[in-house]
Amino acid sequence: MSALESEIDPDATPEPKLQISHLDAYFNDRHVVRDITLSVPQRRVTAIIGPSGCGKSTFLRCLNRMHEHVPGARARGAVMLDGVDVYHPSINPARLRRHVGMVFQKPNPFPTMSIRDNVLAGHRLNGTHVDAPGELVERCLRQVALWDEVKDRLGRPGVSLSSGQQQRLCMARVLAVEPEVILLDEPSSALDPIATAHIEELIEELKERYTLVLVTHNLQQAARVSDYMAFFYLGNLVEFDRTDVIFTNPKESRTEDYLTGKFG
């Protein structure tokens, strides 16, 4: 419903899905994300842009606590998912990641698993029961527009696909665990232009049901697919607004300089 409403009234501000307040992240002594406060609207695409090393990937990985797997990394601050602080000591990060899924820069299907098993991997590895695995596989592969290409070879290894197909398989794998938020860390930067176009179409479709946060180097991509945009620079959030506002009427001169290619 809300997706429909937003088509009618693009100015309506959606509910926040994620509320980040005063988030800091460090690698050992390096302070890479500095005091970020930001609300990610529900069922929208929020793009994080900025030059290399501005902390945008680290920020993204703080949202599902994936940065904790990097030795020496830590974070401070609050990330509220529907009002629940994901950094509270009682939170199990593994459980959190079933609600906040992630797609990586490099397609990483499990090499020892078939296409089918890759889609089911989240359930199989977690030991959760799936009522109709065949239907789930078909639904998820259809969602990423991969079904027609692979339906006759679901038993083949996931790594036998092209890299664009592999990346869509990885997205299907995330969808299968039914997350609410999907974090995309430069999901098409390792892909060719056609595969990139597929991924962008997919992002457009997914935002009807999911909240998406997209880190990208590619400003055109951010302009094409995102509804909101955050510009990061040297670990700071410089500006956050609707994408059309940022592109047409940025408030900060650094944002304008970056968008017009004066630095970055």
Binding site: R95, R97, M102, N108, T112, A121, L125, N126
Partner: protein, 304 residues
């Protein structure tokens, strides 16, 4: 001053380059020639042996007493002794080695890793003779406290100490295989909300399994060929038994025993050691070839 570009760029004289190449290739050839020579000698002597003792007798007789007045040439007792000690060694080396590798690659922090890994590899530097005496004078008496009827020389003690000796081989090569698994796979698994143990056992280990299998096979081939430990601690009685409490003689022990004795060259007794040696060589060769193929497959995987 005008620089002499032509002199600067001049290639080294053809003669010195060729001489250098020759030295290097001779060194490389040395190992090849040695292997060829060994195989030739083994084959030559084994053929002589098989002319006197038909192959079927090797496989049908159940006693190995080539040095007795009435010699019998059943290979099974030596084969059993070798397989038994190897089997026991692998039962120690595989679980301990793989778990140590998992600890080093997946669980230990950078600091623990820097301390523990060299310590594990230190085990590989201990002379096998010392392992042998360790088995005979420490492990056997200790095991005798627990297992009644354990003979002074036995397969259990020798095999398990051999397993300890091979632990670093399995651990080090398995750790290489685990570390070669791309971080992206661990991240993909964690991002799906999979717990750490499930990620290790169901994503990382399956991806590293060819490398772990290669590590196990190389260790097994080392166990087949190990001599000192079994010669000292397992005894020298060729018996057709798979009871780990018994004293057994392995193929290597037999070869060492005869080589050190005063058997005249050219006799049938003398030729037995070549026949046994060839048999041993073929077993380790098969294991090494399989291990090599597995390792090559991993290297191919790493370069997509």
């Amino acid at each position: 001053m005008k620089r002499d570009l032509a002199a600067e760029l001049r290639r080294p004289s053809a003669l010195s380059e060729r001489a250098g190449k020759l030295v290097f290739s001779l060194c490389a050839a040395a190992s090849l020639v040695t292997t060829g020579g060994i195989v030739a000698v083994l084959l030559h002597q084994t053929i002589g042996f098989l002319q006197a003792v038909p192959f079927t007798r090797l496989l049908t007789d159940t006693h190995w007493t080539p040095l007795f007045a009435e010699p019998r040439f059943g290979l099974w007792p030596l084969l059993c002794g070798t397989l038994l000690t190897t089997g026991i060694a692998m039962m120690v080396a595989i679980p301990c080695g793989v778990l140590a590798a998992i600890y080093l690659s997946e669980l230990a922090g950078e600091r623990q890793r820097r301390i523990v890994k060299p310590l594990v590899e230190l085990l590989a530097g201990i002379p096998t003779l010392i392992y042998g005496y360790f088995a005979l004078s420490l492990v056997t008496p200790a095991l005798q406290q627990i297992i009644p009827g354990l003979s002074g020389f036995n397969a259990l003690s020798a095999g398990s100490v051999m397993g300890l000796m091979l632990l670093p081989v399995v651990a080090s090569l398995s750790e290489d295989a685990l570390s070669a698994v791309p971080t992206g796979l661990r991240e993909a698994s964690h991002a799906l909300g999979v717990r750490r143990t499930a990620t290790i056992f169901r994503v990382v280990i399956p991806s590293a399994s060819p490398g772990i299998a290669a590590a196990v096979l190389l260790a097994a081939s080392r166990a087949l060929g190990a001599t000192m430990i079994v010669a000292i601690a397992a005894g020298q009685q060729p018996q057709l038994t798979l009871d780990p409490r018994d004293s057994v003689e392995t193929m290597t022990t037999y070869i060492a025993q005869v080589s050190l004795g005063d058997i005249p060259t050219g006799t049938l007794e003398y030729r037995t050691i070549f026949a046994v040696g060839l048999c041993l060589f073929m077993m380790t060769l098969v294991l090494n070839v399989i291990a090599h193929r597995l390792r090559r497959r991993i290297h191919r995987q790493e370069r997509p």
